[in-house]
Symmetry: C2
Subunit: 197 residues, 2 copies
């Protein structure tokens, strides 16, 4: 967690008071294997980090443009008064940090605990972090899964700007895809019925 | 549904007695948009169909090899007596048909109803279709999400064998990815807590 990150309201990666992930190291090793997320992918994420990080605001513009152009997605950030710009802004700061954290993840217990917290914030107590009143209580889970597609595919042109060749681009793109799938698999935990996750 | 397909035990795509999907056409249009699954992607799936279909047994060999080499995945097909080969075989026939159906999907109400049924069979009543006793009652949902990665990435070399150029390969691969994500988003419905899907 960088000094910059710690200034982001509601950001709790590394907070020792977070409950632990339901997965221990052995359980997470299984999930990583199911996602094909290898050590070489982790190396590719590290290569992607300095390429992606200077473009994070532009990436967020792309993603927020996508959300903003789809009323059923924007609804999660809206109250009866319309889209809540301060809520959108607070989430945006954490979303940008999530990109950094994913590219530099050590996939250890603190990272796992924060993935559980990210999932929880989508599933229940969604608005309490940012003290929002009147927005929907839950991000519908079908959209959380669906967004694997745009979050994966829109990264490619940003990676391409810094990739040294097609082969490195493919490696970084595949690693990003696997890390996104793995993250969403973890975020699913608070949504699933007891014992079914 | 082809005559061939109707001979697959437990295969119910097109069965009018299936309950309808929780999504109507408007709701599914939203989910498709969230997955970026456009009409051009549907066209690309149709182009992929004649390339992929003659290779389905080889694709299933790849996927079953992956499942079989990971005890935590094989566990879903195992009883206290070990892996249940007739269960594995029954699911395999439907899995192959799922590839055909995804490539040729009209994404209409019958297709949607059968996605709900596929989700239900992973989440509850998992073993009843094939009258299996003693296997786990549920495929853990985290692995259903995780398998988006291998099911997507392993398709590429099979598509490459029949693609006329790199551009068509990319189109077909992206369309397959989006269709898999969309399917898993639908399969999630029976796993989610009431009202959270």
């Amino acid at each position: 967690m960088s000094a910059h990150a710690s200034a982001i309201p509601g950001y709790r990666y590394g907070d020792p008071s977070l409950p632990p992930s339901p997965l221990d190291a052995a359980g997470f090793a299984e999930l990583r294997a199911a996602c094909l997320l290898t050590d070489d992918d982790v190396a590719a994420l590290r290569e992607a980090a300095p390429i992606v990080e200077p473009q994070i605001e532009e990436i967020l513009d792309t993603w927020y443009g996508f959300v903003g152009s789809h009323p059923f997605l924007l609804a999660s950030f809206s109250t009866p008064a319309g889209p809540d710009t301060s809520y959108l802004g607070a989430v945006r700061a954490r979303f940008g940090q999530w990109i950094r954290d994913t590219l530099r993840a050590d996939f250890g217990p603190e990272w796992l605990a924060y993935q559980q917290e990210i999932g929880r914030r989508h599933a229940s107590g969604k608005n309490e972090t940012d003290a929002v009143a009147g927005a929907p209580e839950v991000v519908p889970f079908r959209f959380v899964v669906a967004l694997i597609a745009p979050i994966t595919l829109t990264m490619r042109p940003f990676l391409a700007r810094g990739a040294r060749d097609e082969q490195q681009l493919e490696r970084m793109q595949a690693a990003w895809f696997k890390a996104v799938v793995c993250s969403v698999a973890l975020w699913a935990a608070p949504y699933a019925k007891e014992g079914w996750w």
